[in-house]
């Protein structure tokens, strides 16, 4: 199980980082969200995985480590606050700078042809 778990954490990290390295603010925000999932799972795992051992006294026979859980809770909330700020800041940047590139200006596009319509509907 640990192997699968670790694989997922690594994959999420990789996905998050790849998106964070993109040029558009929305992709970056999505990347950061993925990264924060990875972070939370990682931090959680630092207390080791246990099944059927929720740390509610009297409800389980053995207990998992409650401390990382508390830490992850804090991290989730803080991550939410930060993501929210980043999202709105991205909007503000679009409003102020006219585009949604993280650098505030669009890179020179050699050919617009690559901008194919994705057609999501």
């Amino acid at each position: 199980m640990e192997g699968i778990y670790a694989f997922c954490v690594g994959l999420l990290t990789a996905c998050g980082i790849f998106l964070t390295l993109r040029g558009r603010s929305f992709s970056v925000v999505i990347g950061l969200t993925l990264l924060s999932y990875a972070v939370n799972l990682f931090l959680f795992a630092s207390g080791r995985l246990k099944l059927n051992s929720a740390v509610v006294l009297g409800q389980s026979e053995q207990y998992s480590d409650p401390l990382p859980q508390a830490l992850v809770l804090t991290a989730i909330v803080i991550g939410f606050a930060m993501t929210a700020f980043a999202v709105i800041l991205a909007m503000r940047a679009r409003a102020d700078l006219g585009n949604d590139h993280v650098d505030g200006n669009l890179p020179a596009q050699p050919n617009e042809a690559s901008n194919r319509s994705g057609g999501n509907q």
Partner: protein
Amino acid sequence: MSSLIWLPFLPLLGTLIPLLTARFSRTTCAFMTAALPALTLFLILSNAGDIFQGERFQAAIPWIPAIGLELAFRLDGLALLFSILILGIGLLVILYARYYLSAQDSIGKFYAYLILFMFAMLGVVLSDNLIQLWFFWELTSISSFLLISFWGHKADARKGARMALTITGAGGLALLAGLLILGNTVGSFSLQDILDSGPFIKDSANYPVIVVLILLGAFTKSAQFPFHFWLPNAMAAPTPVSAYLHSATMVKAGIFLMARFYPALADTDLWFLIVTLTGLATFLMGAYIALFQHDLKGLLANSTISHLGLITLLLGMGTDLAAVAAVFHIINHAIFKASLFMAAGIIDHESGSRDMRQLNGLWKYMPYTATLAMVASASMAGVPLMNGFLSKEMFFTETLHQASLGSLSWLIPVLATLGGIFAVAYSMRFIHDVFFNGEPINLPKTPHEPPRYMRVPVEILVALCLLVGIFPGFMVGDLLFAAASATLNTQAPSYSLAIWHGFNFPLLMSVIAIIGGLVMYQNRSHLFKFQAQFPKSDPKLVFEGVIQSIASKAGRIIAFTENSSLQRYIFFTLGLAAVMTASSLLKLNATAGQRPEIPVDALSITGAVLLSISALATVLWHRRRVVALITLSVVGLIVSLAFAQFSAPDLALTQLSVEVVTVILLILALFFLPQKTPKESSPRRVVRDLSLASLIGGVIGTICYALMTRPLDTISTFFTENSKTGGGGTNVVNVILVDFRGFDTLGEITVLGIAALGIYKLISRMRLFMPSTDGNGLAWSEDRHPILLAVISQSLLPLALLVSAYIFLRGHNMPGGGFIAGLITSVAIIQQYVAHGVDWIKTRIKLDYQIMIGSGISIATLSGLGSWAFGHTFLSSWFDYFYLPLIGKFELASAMIFDLGVFLTVVGATMLILANLGQLTTSERPIQKEHD
């Protein structure tokens, strides 16, 4: 002499006087300004007798021992000599400047700078501590900068001052390094210790470094080749400044430094080689260039360089007598050069020009001044009966005794004579070209004699030229001896100060110099023609050019590195992290540890597959934003399920609710952002990013696995053991949050509150582009508030609030708590916003979310403060069980108040963000009439 500690500070006090007295008459100002330096001079002179007897005054009090700095002064012969020059000539300059400066110039500011500089110089020469010496050394650089740039509105003054500051400042840094190494080598920063450790220093491995660094300081300050070029450009300063800085003080500081460290550093081959060669080169070059200057002050400036070279050369020779000669020339040069500068200033002041091509035949207009100038330049030329002659004779004598250059040693006296020839020639030019040589050409003013008292300083100095020249022993004998002894740190050797030593070789050299000089001046036109062939380069422009090219190169480097590309910045940051972690991970032999693993089941595999595929899908489709959002939601859902599976119900709940709020937020944002992302990353960039991402992902995954498969001893048993008894709750995670680590939670809700405030700030001035169609040009639906959604949302609200209350109340003992409850409430309210719109809500509820945040944080904090009343630390919890008839046993805990604060902050923050974000559009967007 107990006053020695505060003596140098007397002039410093004086810097305020001119600023305060400037509003009175200029004369008053000048006299008041002069008072303290005069007093200082008097106090110092009153001790001269003792010093002539060979005594040395020292005083020190500790200051900053950590850097070896103490407030330490010494008054010995050398210091006495320099103090007299600094203060004496300083006083004359004060008098002179009173007349020189025009009414527009702020005389108060000028005097203030001058006194500051005087203080700094005095500090340098009186210092008995290396660091303190450097301290004052730098002060001279700074205050001379102020003086040189006194006419800062002129470009020349600015550039000249900058150049002087840059060169001397750079030298100062080298000096600091040298002094620090010197002090560390000896183990003391006390000057006396250094002077007493000469042999030790010269034997030490650090000696070459020390010598080079200290000499760099000295050479830059004393305008030695190749650092000489700043000095002529410092002539942009008012002439009193030049008279002061370039005769007795600033440039002499470098000489002083060499003299001061003479016992510690001199008399080695290295010293000889560097110092004599530099001195010789400077001596010749200065003299040569001086001849070709058309600017009166330019001539004097280059002559100064030359004379400084001469003194340096003497100090480099390493014989005691050479040192004596050097000290003597220091005195003489100060006297005649100060008077010459002042004379040049008078000429400039009264004729409006310093250009020797315009200045001709001034004898007729200012014979008195001319006479003074002629005496002084005679001294500069080394004409007998003048003081300059005496020290030059000693110099020539010493050059003859040099053997250090081996078979080439004869070069030194020859070159010295050559320098002498040039000196005579430029002195001649100074006299003849200005006072005779026809009629003035196009002078702005008709020249005339200066005011009476403007001449006084010149008269005094010229008188000194003669007096010292004729009665050297009487005038400066004791002083010279004391200063020379102090320089040598031992009794000076015997020498004769007689005017006449009989016909000897040095005399011959003098004669050759004088005759040669006259001949050379006579035939100057050939020389000028020869010189005119060389391209002229203005060192100022060259220097500015160099500085500017350095700045622009720096600019290019910065523009290249800080290219404003966030992608690059992130890449570097993550790259460093990857390199650091990966490199240390290489040492991990086995990834898996000893801890038994949980067996894999199909459910988990399904979860992993769902998670992986949706994460990958998010990446693949990140340019189709809505789709990415949906796949992201799946990832969030699976993560929550994972938390639930691995025994963290609280985490699952929190993750779920945060997830929903985040998605709503992202959807809100999506409306204002482009619907799709263009494909703009080059394949190379994609490969690069993919590699980095996989590397870090791999590293993190590996570490995660390695951690999970190793046993761990944690502090957590304490929490499970004390949760119920100490924290009053059975949900240990919640008890950690509100009690054991409640401080974290307080910080966390503060973060949330601040984020909301910040977002409010972001929103409040946002001007948004609102698309009227979707990404493909399809107009939006006209149904603003679908009826089913509206009605159902209304019915859900009370239920949601009830659930929220349920989650809140049970949090302490079962999964739940204030945070999750807060999010549920927020989501329920947001749901109303989605279903009904802002306008509808606005008329119906009047919640001030900002107040909610404020009171939430306040309540949480105050609940923690309550414990102070009982003498406990902040956030100490309190709980008890109560029994009420009918209701039964129930628990009350301070943690619940804390949790209430959390709840309020969460609701306030989320709503402040979302409601305001929603509100953004309502005012501008045309409201369609609802059909009813």
